[in-house]
Amino acid sequence: MALIENLTLFVLAAFLGYSIITKIPTNLHTPLMSGANAISGITLIGSVVVAGSGATTLATVLGFVAVVMATVNVVGGYLVSHMMLDQFGRQDGGDR
């Protein structure tokens, strides 16, 4: 029953996400948003499979576009998040 197993993962991940995210303080919410955003680019691995399989031309074209878009999301998201957090981190070093 792949469907129910997947559903089980979904439910557990939802509870876990709720538990973790509610512990994150407000001042980190903007970097959290872009970091979470980057994680949603995980759809990239789906795009890779589809783009690389080359089964049909249509799938390849769709896959190509999907890979570009998902990669922008992943790379951009993590970078932006890193740049923001660096500013928090930098001063922490200074404090000590």
Partner: protein, 479 residues
Amino acid sequence: MAEGVLAGAPDWLLPLAYLVASVLFIQGLRDMTHPRTATRGNATSAAGMFLAVAVTVLWFEILSPVVLAAALLLGAAIGTWLAVTVETTEMPQLVGLFNGFGGGASALVAGAELTEIFDRDAAATPDVAVAAAIAGIIGSVTFWGSLVAAGKLHGVFRRTIRYRGEHLVKVVLLAVALTAGAFLVLQPGVFGETPLAAWAPSYWVLVAAASVLGVALVVPIGGADMPVVIALLNSYSGLAAATTGFVLDNTVLIIAGTLVGAAGMILTVIMCESMNRSLPNVLFGGWGEEATDDEMDDIYEGEIQSTSPEEVEMLLDTAQRVVIVPGYGMAVAQAQHAVAELAELLEENGVDVEFGIHPVAGRMPGHMNVLLAEADVPYDKMRELEEVNPTFSETDVVIVTGANDVVNPKAKEAEGTPISGMPILNVDEARTVIVNKRSLSPGFSGIPNPLFTLDKTSMLFGDAKQSMQDLVNEYKENH
């Protein structure tokens, strides 16, 4: 069985790698609970992503490695370029844009998978078809909704388009998308044996309808409500990835997507709550138009005292304790460095300076914290509402710069204003209040602010960056 570079590797390697990647995502988010560990958390999460993608590339037979490499490089280049050239004030729209791309990719992947299935002359099982339909709808709405939202935030187009029957249009579009989805699931074969059938045409009808729906949903929402929309679409892009995981039967997509879905949903709810509004009100209420005209000027007529950097400098000269309250205007003006410099100067001269940060100051949760951290303001100077409010009665001067709603006493008194019930920073309890903004025009909520008319309030009109810099210079001259 692995088909690609890793051919011959045991079956369990791929799901195990995905499990490790999921753990890295979870650990990355857990590290986000503290500023000290947050940078590491982001890196941990990125490592998870790298692992998942690398294993996937090596595992599957890539018939067109050049195409794939080109796509990856192109995406990475665009992403890097956007990230490094962005101004801190443009963060919200950039996050929105990235987000849309993630949603769009999910919709395309589901579609490509369907065409592959149909191309093999196989039928999609009902659960795959349902998941694909959901991924298609959510992904398309996310893509187009995010583009519109990012465009509005960026000022590409500011108009809020409202029209009679706009809700009906949305309902019809959703109905079309759902009908196309039903076709996809039931596959009644109306397209027969035509070559068209292999393209999964009902899926693309669904995508088209959902795309228009995405635009139609966001267009009537006021520009100032866009941050909520973006947080919600962030949640959607996660859900789209999770449903794609159901289509591809892939655990890491489901887990990671769901985590993002939860994160976006929680941020959305927090924003709505701290603005004292409901989510349906934000999405369908249509309120939230930014009042740009200065019709308010009459209201304040004759009750406003304005001041100059010189006068403020004199006030600061005798102050023991100063609280700076930043708001959206500080972000717009990029005034954080000037503000930080002012605070440092005052501290050097023995004045006790703190920042009062309202939870929804600016346009994203934590917006002010990010900006001030950029300008090297230490955390322990940034005080939250509950911490700073009790101290205003012992504060000599409050400098409000670019903030409006978050210090509007109307939130306490009147029922029926858009901010009624929202807790505010009680700056009016301080001895003197300096309000720095460019005009008397209202903030996000579009209502006048009685704080400006108080006897203890003086307005320091001007762009936040300019005014703060003037203050710094003035202060330096005299010390």
